[in-house]
Amino acid sequence: MSALVELVGITKGYGGVQALDDVSFAIEAGAVHALVGENGAGKSTLVKILTGVVHPDDGRLLVDGEPQRIGSAHDAHRLGIVAMYQEPTVFPDLTVAENIFAGRHPRGRLRSVDWQAMRSAVAQLLDDLGVEFGPATPMRGLGVADRQLTEIAKALSSNARLLIMDEPTAALSPHEVDNLFGTVRRLRERGVAVVFISHRLEEVAALADTVTVLRDGRHVTTRPAETLPQQEIVRLMVGRSLDALFPKETVEIGEPVLRAEGLGSRGVFSDVSFELRRGEIVGLAGFVGSGRSEIARAIFGIDRLDSGELWIDGRRFRPSSPRAALRRGLAYLPEDRLNQGLVQPMSVAVNTSMAVLPELTPAGFLRPRRERALARRFMEQLRIKATSPAQIVRSLSGGNQQKVVLSKWLAAEPRILILDEPTHGVDVGTKADVHRTISRLAAEGLTILLISSELLEIIAMSDRVLVMHEGRLAAELSRAEATEERIIEAAAGMQKAVA
């Protein structure tokens, strides 16, 4: 029996960049096929080729052994190939239900939209995923994680034969990841082929039957998952062996820098008090929707605080606008790089300098040379895979875009840095780089509040961990106390006492 989909010699170049170079492998029905590789290895490009969004320069696609030309999303749908993309492509004006069924509404009498059927189908899907919002929720205003979940629901709702998920878990916390895996396994049993892309190799190990490794656009290997331990995957990805996690260095913790007392925002979070010290990395853990990002946004002056007080260096700080916060040495790397992090149609240089323009351009006139120099510095430091500082960020791979956001806020040289999912979509190697950078900055006296849904990251990097549950601080754990079990317990509200 032939494979469900077979790629033969797929090649795709963008100007000077060879995104894919002669890639061939097969995808079998009823199996989960993991696709791994560094940032910019060509994974997303491959997805786009399979769904007809991008057309290969060379190579063939066989579906059920038949050569097929996938010219458009429509062709892909016809062949039963459905993808959820790395950057959720949502309709912000529509409800969750319509987002899931856009373009293929269930029909009722007179071929009209059957709203009832649509709502109940979506309710069922969302229930399976165990999410917090309902079908009638408007998409605008949903956080990255919720958008990702909607995108997953959309992919699941189609009767796909090949379901492609490009980093579905990047924004999810363990709770949602578990639900997702359950659903994927059920699909596999129904004979659906699933292509699964992730930078979290433990997830690959947990879910995949087959693993394909890409490096610099070239196919490295396709092998059964059991024959590929994680270290081996890493070695194949980057071409050398590497410690997956960077061990945080211990630094001297200094005096309190930021103090929050009784922070509250009606209906979002309440009674949040904590202290951040100089040189300290404090992890902020919790499930999706527990209000972590909201706290960060409020401190940074984006959302209004209803109650509570803040002090920076012992001086009262009233967050009024991001600009005011920046002036007090506070910076916030947002979780949503698409809508909050980067101006997509602008260049790497422009984005990198965005938050420091007043310093870069003291006379008010732009200094393009300085901007490029700044960008180049970070491109080297964070190993950003871009042709030049003038490359448009939209054309960067997801992980590299994330690094540009990181550059932008590091360039601001803040004293307190709030990082909201800083390694979202960043590959293992670079993640270690990012962690090393964070750690070094902390050692130099920077104070960091690290919001992350990836527990391993929180545990590895934090001197102290705060855990949120439904808008309240549920626990404060020291580095020694912060184990996976205890964090999850607290996040799920099962903790009995706040430390």
Binding site: T51, A73, H77, F91, E98, P138, R266, V268, E470, G493
Partner: protein, 349 residues
């Protein structure tokens, strides 16, 4: 398995209530206007005045329904005034030279002319990939130019039209003027289509995110053409209605009319960047503008202050609307958890 503490039904009902609020701002503004004028303006609250308002607003609503569909797709149709002028002339000319032609046929000619013009717009935008504002700015002049070519400076005057046609505008079945019936019908059908027709739901998707629409295999090109075609056809119908209303067509017919239409659409709360808006809102918007116009006329202000106050009233109305919407959005953001965080007892301090 459910996430802990998920608010199940209450959030949904709240959200749907909030969605209905979308038209609330403009509805309140309209209500305030009506109350104010009823108290202050002579003869405002009379049946015959409301019949006047109804015929004033009828053409605007009909064309605005089509315009709404276009705007929903993140496009705009600036050529509706010229299309209306062209179809008004071609259909009226037909009737004036062939008195025997049934009026329905004349209406169909008008709609047909509009449809053709709208199709051209749609092709230019969707297939030619010319930004809608440029394409329809161009066809605004081109179609108006065609009016000049067609008329050659000629015109259709009342005496050239059959009496039955001339009387149409004055007919008021069940107390509602004929033109208002047409508008009511178009608005109801338009509203139903936008709510129930799968292809019309695609308009919302396309306007909300063209890239996403393409990714989920919405036939974007076909839908955009459809929206422009509908807009053109309804503008054509609007042209017929112009002819009915004035029994008088020349090169100036419906000149600048696109402005009234877009005003109604914008005041009616349709997002000019596409993706949201309803026919109900647009109808209320058109009514609001017509009421303000009418009320200030009856208020016997000096003509000059009248223009000023009309504009100011619109600014006040849209500001009110925006402030209300801001509130709604804030409520939405906070909808997740009730004011008091649940399960206090489980998290003792």
């Amino acid at each position: 398995m459910k996430a802990p503490g998920r608010p199940a039904v209450s959030a949904q009902t709240l959200v749907s209530a909030v969605f209905r609020l979308r038209e609330l701002g403009i509805g309140i503004a309209l209500l305030l206007t009506v109350v104010l004028f009823s108290v202050r303006a002579t003869n405002f609250a009379t049946v015959s005045n409301w019949q006047d308002i109804a015929s004033d607003v009828a053409v605007v609503i009909v064309v605005a329904v089509g315009e709404t569909m276009v705007v929903l797709t993140r496009n705009i149709d600036l050529s509706v005034g010229s299309i209306a002028g062209l179809s008004a002339y071609l259909s009226a000319e037909t009737l004036s030279t062939h008195h025997g032609v049934p009026i329905v046929v004349m209406a169909l000619i008008a709609v047909g002319v509009g449809l053709a013009a709208g199709l051209v717009n749609g092709l230019l935008v969707a297939v030619g990939r010319i930004p809608a504002i440029i394409a329809t700015l161009a066809t605004l002049s081109i179609y108006r130019g065609l009016v000049f070519q067609a008329t050659g400076g000629d015109y259709v005057f009342p005496n050239e039209l059959p009496q039955s046609f001339q009387n149409l505008a004055a007919e008021k079945p069940l107390g509602l003027p004929f033109l208002a019936w047409v508008a009511l019908g178009v608005a109801l059908v338009g509203g139903a289509v936008l709510r129930w027709a799968p292809w019309a739901r695609d308009f919302y998707a396309i306007g909300s995110s063209p890239e996403a629409a393409r990714l989920v295999a919405v036939p974007v090109v076909r839908r955009v053409i459809t929206a422009f075609a509908i807009s053109g056809a309804l503008a054509g119908l609007g042209g017929f209605m112009f002819a009915v209303r004035f029994a008088n067509v020349d090169t100036n017919t419906a000149r600048g009319f696109e402005f009234d239409v877009i005003t109604a659409v914008v005041i009616g709360g349709v997002n000019v960047f596409g993706g949201s808006g309803t026919i109900l809102g647009v109808t209320l918007g058109a009514l609001l503008v017509a009421t303000i116009d009418n009320g200030f006329t009856l208020l016997k202000f000096s003509e000059f202050w009248k223009i000023f106050f009309e504009g100011t009233a619109i600014v006040v109305a849209v500001t009110l609307d925006a402030l209300l919407k801001g509130r709604v959005q804030d409520a939405l953001r906070r909808r997740r958890r009730p004011a008091s965080i649940p399960r206090e007892q489980e998290a003792p301090a």
